[in-house]
Symmetry: C2
Subunit: 166 residues, 2 copies
């Protein structure tokens, strides 16, 4: 029986992280929107330190270690609490490692990190049709903000709006 552990990613994990991001975009039915490259991840995680990544690892009886999943997160800020929060951007468990509670282990790991670092909130986004995920999140006390919507300006509209002269 393999055992599992969680640790922070190292630069050797970059290609594996990118592959899992692409696999997650497939699952979310929007692979055409995923333009991430290894260079993006290397820069954001290990150079600019915009984001952090934890890796779920499996170790078999012979001591061989394999990557089972990952979670990528960064810090946000609330003007109501006055302190930073932990925003989980992506969490993924590779298909062959599902059904063993690894997703929940990573969520608990991040909740503990949030507590340890004084974050008042731990947040992520969920698609409203992903009812199994929502039921899981609600089972441990998370709440959906039903009346808030994310508003996004990107692509040509962002370029244009940022170019208007006063």
């Amino acid at each position: 029986m393999p055992d599992f552990f969680i640790e922070f990613a190292t630069p050797k994990d970059v290609d594996s992280i990118v592959q899992m991001i692409r696999d997650l975009a497939e699952f979310e039915k929007m692979p055409e929107h995923c333009h991430v490259t290894p260079e993006h991840i290397r820069r954001a995680v290990f150079e600019e330190r915009l984001v952090r990544v934890i890796m779920a690892r499996s170790r078999d009886d012979e001591g061989n270690v394999d990557t089972a999943g990952f979670a990528l997160f960064f810090y946000n800020f609330s003007t109501w609490t006055g302190v930073k929060g932990l925003h989980l951007e992506d969490l993924f468990v590779r298909p062959e490692y599902r059904g063993r509670g690894l997703g929940r282990s990573m969520l608990r790991h991040l909740a503990k990190l949030a507590n340890d670092e004084g974050c008042q909130r731990f947040e992520w986004n969920v698609l409203d049709w992903n009812v199994n995920a929502i039921a899981l999140y609600e089972s441990f006390g998370a709440t959906l903000l039903h009346d808030w919507r994310i508003c996004r300006l990107d692509g040509p509209a962002l370029k244009a709006y940022g170019s208007i002269k006063e």
Copy 2:
């Protein structure tokens, strides 16, 4: 006639920022959720540099400068674009300065900053009942992400979930 300009906040603006955050929480009908203090803002903006703040100022014919509004933002990250985005957390114009396009000026200022810094997205959250704001945002090309919900774990539930032993 006063003229208006936008600049980054300085440590002298901390009390004014806190007052406007509280005024905004009143407008959002949730003042009891707003626990921010000047020390929170001083630390987040000028010490830990978790967030940035721009101030809208008015200058009258005699050269007197008054604060007309503010916007507080930080950077997020998308695993689809692979680069950072600009997340606007709060934007507020004081009542006596409304109706002169100051909110739009701050949004354009931030869109320009996002472009200049290579952000692929400029995002913020909006209450779904705030139809006037939504109409404004859509008028310059922003889109609402209708099927995404924010999921939040906080308070005693976060403390409890982060304390579960494996």
